[in-house]
Symmetry: C2
Subunit: 217 residues, 2 copies
DNA sequence: TCAAACATACCAACCGGTCGGTTTGTTTAA
DNA sequence: TTAAACAAACCGACCGGTTGGTATGTTTGA
């Protein structure tokens, strides 16, 4: 794992077995982490189970003891790690923000500094997986829709609170603007990946910050 | 091909062989079209050569007569069809526009009406391929960078002309704003695909049109 | 006639998944 | 205390099917 924010630093001894079978839980967690990074880099369909078990330091037998098949492994990994990423990087910082526009700007700047564990070379994990599997796989589809809903609502709620606090223009629709903000961010990250050029991100960020300012009263 | 704009309606008798070998050119074109739609729907790595030759109505022998390998076929298909899409939908309409902001709005609305051959179920071809292969494959990388450069410059040039014509604010950087516009559009299309929900596009479009208005003097 | 164009049969490599068997750790009972 | 009994965890060889690519022969058109 290159990321710190994308890893689940669970105390590893609070599983359903109540502290027993610690070894099994460790293996399961290692498989999830290995699966996530392999899927993050290669995509789900190109992710190799042999590579995953090699990274996790176990074998096919272990994998199929903990998960019924590749699909279930991918679902579990995506749900856990991508959900954690959106929660820690977007939802939590926005939940406490008095000035939502400044908070959003700070999140973008944190991305530009590389402080969120998103490798420009591989792009955004949410983006990668949803692009590959949306419209094809119902299970992943459900995860993406749910994550996006929580993500957009967090931004929209922050904007609404900003409106009542007088920090955001009252004549804009928070839901619409939140959708555009999330989509734009996704688009910029994907553009950086497409061009492999960080300057694209800086240029887009300059214009994006101008847009944020235009939302002030 | 579901699209009309994505097809190259070349008169098919102006190839390098100067009118001779018409049959061979037709097969080559059929292979390119089949390869593009298969890659568009499945991604490059998951695209099956057997499926491509079946759609093109020929066999492996023909394919490997015209192209050295799968990679070269994919490069040729991507360069031709995605380049044509960006040219016809973005560059040409912007080249003649007196009011660039209105032209950009019209392009977005044309997308929303489904008039550009981009199936929401499969997303934007440029987006799909660049997400899958950027940072991994140097050949495709080169194509994506070049296409993006022409795309962004077309928008930036239109904005600059709009500035001199008094239709666009003079205190914005056309290059930065153009980058954000292209990236946002990409992000919205990808969000529609991720959620499989056209309402997301409508919400984002509403806010996006507001942003465009904020660019007027 | 001859080369371009195309078809058919085929191969080696790979991948997801299976299966019989082994190791490790916990529970039970004398 | 300890050893038998049991179950969870793990191993790695193996299988059926698929895929990109090749070898070889046939057709077509100038």
């Amino acid at each position: 794992m290159t990321s710190d924010v994308l890893s689940t630093e669970a105390p590893e001894a609070q599983a359903e077995t109540d502290g027993r079978h610690v070894r099994g839980d460790r293996t399961r967690q290692a498989l999830l982490e290995a699966a996530f990074s392999e899927i993050y880099e290669q995509g789900f369909r190109s992710a190799r189970l042999n590579e995953i078990v090699a990274r996790a330091g176990c074998t096919k037998g272990s994998l199929y003891h903990h998960f019924p098949d590749k699909h279930a492994l991918g679902l579990a990994a995506a749900d856990e790690f991508i959900g954690a990423y959106i929660r820690e990087v977007w939802i939590e910082p926005l939940g406490e923000a008095a000035d939502p526009l400044a908070a959003i700007r700070a999140i973008i700047e944190r991305h530009a500094e590389g402080g969120v564990g998103v490798d420009p070379r591989f792009g955004c994990p949410y983006q990668n997986l949803s692009q590959e599997l949306s419209g094809i796989d119902a299970g992943f589809q459900e995860i993406f829709t749910g994550l996006f809903e929580r993500w957009r609502n967090a931004v929209a709620d922050a904007l609404t609170r900003g409106q009542t606090a007088g920090a955001v223009r009252r004549d804009i629709d928070p839901q619409c603007v939140a959708t555009l903000i999330v989509a734009s961010h996704q688009g910029v990250v994907s553009m950086i990946k497409a061009t492999q050029d960080l300057d694209v991100g800086h240029a887009a960020a300059t214009a994006f910050f101008g847009y944020l300012e235009s939302l002030r009263p």
